[in-house]
C-alpha cells in the first residue's frame, strides 16, 4: 500500500492598512530600523492596545468570499512565548473566537480536476519584529518596525493530498486576497507568507506526525520544498524511523529541508483571553455594509468573460489573473466594444512589453484608455494592424496617444484608390520579368507584388485594397 500525503496550509496575509493593528505607528515597508516602533511595540509597561478599525471589514471580506461564518463576538488572546522579536512576551492573536469562523471553502483545479478545500478559520493577529543574526558578533539585532503589523492568518483543513494541490490552493488564496484588496500579495516583502504542514500515512490509518515548512517566499519553492519533505518522510518511515514534529527550513540553494527547532507543543503557548482588549462585536449591519462593497470574484468574472464576451477559457483565465489585469481589460472593452480584439492586444503586445520591462499592469506606461484609442484606429481603418504595432511601441516610449503618433509620424493608412493604383503601376512597371512569370502561371508571384506595394507605401497602404487593385491589373 502506498503512502498518502496530507497537507494543510497556514497563510499569513498582511492586511493593507496604514498603521499597526494596535497602535498608530506606520507600517510602510523599508523604513530605518525601529523608527516605526513605539512604546506599545516595545512592550513598555502601562501601554494599552487599541484596535485599528480598518482590519475588521477586511477580515469580514475574506470570510464572505469563502462563505465562512463571521464570528459575531471575536476575542483576542495572548499566545505566550519568549523571543526578542516580541518584547511583550506574547503575541496578541485570536484562539477560541476567531473573526472568520468555520465553513469556508475554496475551489481549486489541478490537472483538470476540481476539488474543494476547507478553510478552518481565519484570525487577526500581530506580526513579530525581525531578528538580525549575522550583523553583530555574538549578539542578535532586533528591529521592531514589523512588530504589530496586522495579519490575517488563514488556516486550511488538512485537505490537500499533493504539493500541486497545496500550491493551487495557495495561489487561489493569493489571488483572492488581492482581488478583495485586503493584502497586496507581495511575497518578496513578506506580505503573503505560506507555512505548510506536511505528513504522510497509510490510507485508513490515523494521520502521521507532521513537519512544518515555514516562510517560503515563492510558489515554485513551496512546491519543491513539499516534494522534498514528502520524500524525506517516506525515507524516514520506510527505514523504520519516526517523523518528529518540528519546523523545517527550505534551503533553495541546496534544495533540501532541514530542521530548525522542535515546535513547542500547542498547549505550551498557554493561550488566555487578553485582558487589555475587549471582545469585538460584529453586527448584521456591519456584515451587510461589507457585502455591499464586495468586488466580483475571479471565478464569477471568468464565467462572465466566457459567456458575455465569447472568450475562450484560456483567455478568460489569463485576463482575470489579477484584479488589475481584469480592470484594465474591462476598461479597454468598455471603449472598443470588441472583446476578442481587445483581449488579443492585452494578452499579446501589452503583456509582452510589461514582462520585458518587469512591470505590473497597474504601472503600464500605456493606459487602458490609450490602448483602446489605438484599437479604435485599427477598427475604423485609419491604420493597419502592422502599423498599429509601431504606434504601440511609440506609445510605450511615451510619444503620446495613438492619434497624436499617427498624426506626427504620418502613419495614416492610404485608402485613396488612385494613390494605391499609382503605387501598383510603379511596381508592375519596375518588375516586368516577374509580371511575365506571373502571367506564365507562377501565381505565387502575387505575394511578391503585394510585398513590393506595401514596401513602397511604407506599410501604409490598405492591404485589402492593394490586393484588389493588383488582381484587377494583373488580369
Amino acid at each position: 500500500m502506498t503512502w498518502e500525503v496530507v497537507i494543510g496550509l497556514e497563510i499569513h496575509a498582511q492586511l493593507t492598512t496604514k498603521t499597526k493593528i494596535f497602535s498608530g505607528s506606520s507600517i510602510s515597508y523599508g523604513a530605518e530600523p525601529n523608527t516605526q516602533a513605539n512604546l506599545l511595540d516595545l512592550g513598555m509597561p502601562g501601554q494599552l492596545p487599541v484596535l485599528n478599525k480598518a482590519v475588521i471589514p477586511k477580515a469580514i471580506k475574506l470570510g464572505l468570499a469563502i462563505g465562512a461564518e463571521i464570528g459575531r463576538r471575536s476575542v483576542f488572546d495572548r499566545k505566550n512565548y519568549f523571543y526578542p522579536d516580541l518584547p511583550k512576551g506574547y503575541q496578541t492573536s485570536q484562539f477560541s473566537f476567531p473573526i472568520v469562523d468555520k465553513g469556508g471553502v475554496v475551489e481549486i483545479e489541478v490537472e483538470g480536476e476540481t476539488k474543494k478545500i476547507g478553510v478552518t478559520r481565519a484570525h487577526l493577529e500581530e506580526d513579530a519584529g525581525k531578528s538580525i543574526h549575522d550583523a553583530f558578533p555574538g549578539q542578535t539585532g532586533v528591529d521592531l518596525n514589523r512588530a504589530g503589523t496586522p495579519l490575517l492568518e488563514i488556516v486550511s483543513e488538512p485537505d490537500m493530498r499533493s504539493a500541486k494541490e497545496a500550491v493551487a490552493y495557495a495561489k487561489k488564496m493569493h489571488e483572492l486576497v488581492q482581488y478583495l484588496g485586503i493584502c497586496d500579495g507581495n511575497m518578496q516583502e513578506g506580505s503573503f507568507r505560506v507555512d505548510s504542514n506536511v505528513s504522510i500515512h497509510k490510507p485508513g490509518t490515523p494521520f502521521g506526525t507532521r513537519a512544518e515548512l515555514k516562510n517560503i517566499n515563492s510558489f515554485k519553492f513551496i512546491e519543491q520544498a513539499i516534494e522534498l519533505e514528502i520524500e524525506r518522510q517516506i525515507e524516514v518511515l520506510e527505514s523504520g524511523g519516526q517523523v518528529v514534529q518540528e519546523t523545517r527550513l527550505y534551503d533553495a540553494d541546496k534544495n533540501e529541508t532541514r530542521s530548525m527547532r522542535e515546535k513547542e507543543e500547542a498547549n505550551d503557548y498557554r493561550y488566555f483571553p487578553c485582558p487589555d482588549l475587549l471582545p469585538v462585536v460584529i453586527t448584521e449591519e456591519d456584515i451587510e455594509a461589507v457585502r455591499a462593497e464586495m468586488p466580483e470574484m475571479p471565478d464569477a468574472k471568468r464565467k462572465r468573460y466566457v459567456a458575455d464576451f465569447n472568450l475562450s477559457d484560456y483567455d478568460a483565465a489569463f485576463l482575470t489573473g489579477s484584479r488589475a489585469m481584469a480592470e484594465y481589460f474591462e476598461a479597454v472593452v468598455a471603449k472598443t466594444n470588441e472583446a476578442k480584439v481587445s483581449a488579443n492586444w492585452v494578452m499579446g503586445e501589452l503583456s509582452k512589453s510589461l514582462n520585458q520591462n518587469g512591470l505590473d499592469v497597474a504601472d503600464s506606461p500605456v493606459s487602458a484608455d490609450m490602448l483602446a484609442g489605438l484599437i479604435e484606429r485599427i477598427q475604423d481603418n485609419t491604420i493597419s494592424g502592422k502599423i498599429a504595432k509601431q504606434v504601440f511601441d511609440a506609445m510605450l516610449s511615451g510619444e503620446g496617444s495613438a492619434d497624436e503618433i499617427v498624426e506626427n509620424k504620418g502613419l495614416k493608412q492610404i485608402t485613396d484608390s488612385s494613390a494605391i493604383e499609382a503605387l501598383v503601376d510603379d511596381v508592375l512597371a519596375n518588375n516586368t520579368a516577374q509580371v511575365e512569370a506571373y502571367k506564365g502561371g507562377q501565381e505565387k508571384m502575387f505575394g511578391f507584388f503585394v510585398g513590393q506595394v506595401m514596401k513602397a507605401s511604407q506599410g501604409q497602404a490598405n492591404p485589402a485594397q492593394v490586393n484588389q487593385i493588383l488582381k484587377d491589373k494583373l488580369k
Binding site: E32, N34, K53, P84, T140, D143, P273
Partner: protein, 95 residues
C-alpha cells in the same frame, strides 16, 4: 492533583522565570494546591453557563487607521542595555 518536579521545571522554563533548586519542592506543593482547587471547581455543572472571559459588559473601542506615532527611537534606545545602528541588541538567540 499533584505535579511532578519536572513539570515545574518545564513551566518555569516556558515562563522564563528562574527557579532556585531549593524552591522547587515548595513551588510544586503550591501549584498542586491551585490545581486541586480547579479540580474541585470542575465538579460544578456548567452546561448552561456562558463562558466569561471579560467581566465588563462592554465591547472594544476602535481607532481610526491614521498614523499618530512619531519616531522616538533614539530616546527609547537610551533605556536599552545595548543598541547599535538603530537595532536593539540582545544575547544571541540562534547558533
Amino acid at each position: 492533583m499533584s505535579l511532578e518536579k519536572s513539570e515545574v521545571d518545564t513551566i518555569s522554563r516556558l515562563a522564563a522565570i528562574s527557579v532556585d533548586a531549593t524552591e522547587v519542592d515548595q513551588l510544586t506543593a503550591k501549584i498542586s494546591n491551585v490545581l486541586d482547587l480547579f479540580q474541585r471547581m470542575e465538579a460544578v455543572d456548567t452546561t448552561n453557563v456562558e463562558p466569561m472571559s471579560h467581566p465588563l459588559d462592554q465591547v472594544q473601542r476602535l481607532r481610526e487607521d491614521v498614523v499618530t506615532e512619531t519616531d522616538h527611537h533614539k530616546q527609547y534606545q537610551k533605556l536599552a542595555p545595548a543598541a547599535e545602528k538603530g537595532m536593539y541588541l540582545v544575547p544571541q538567540v540562534i547558533d
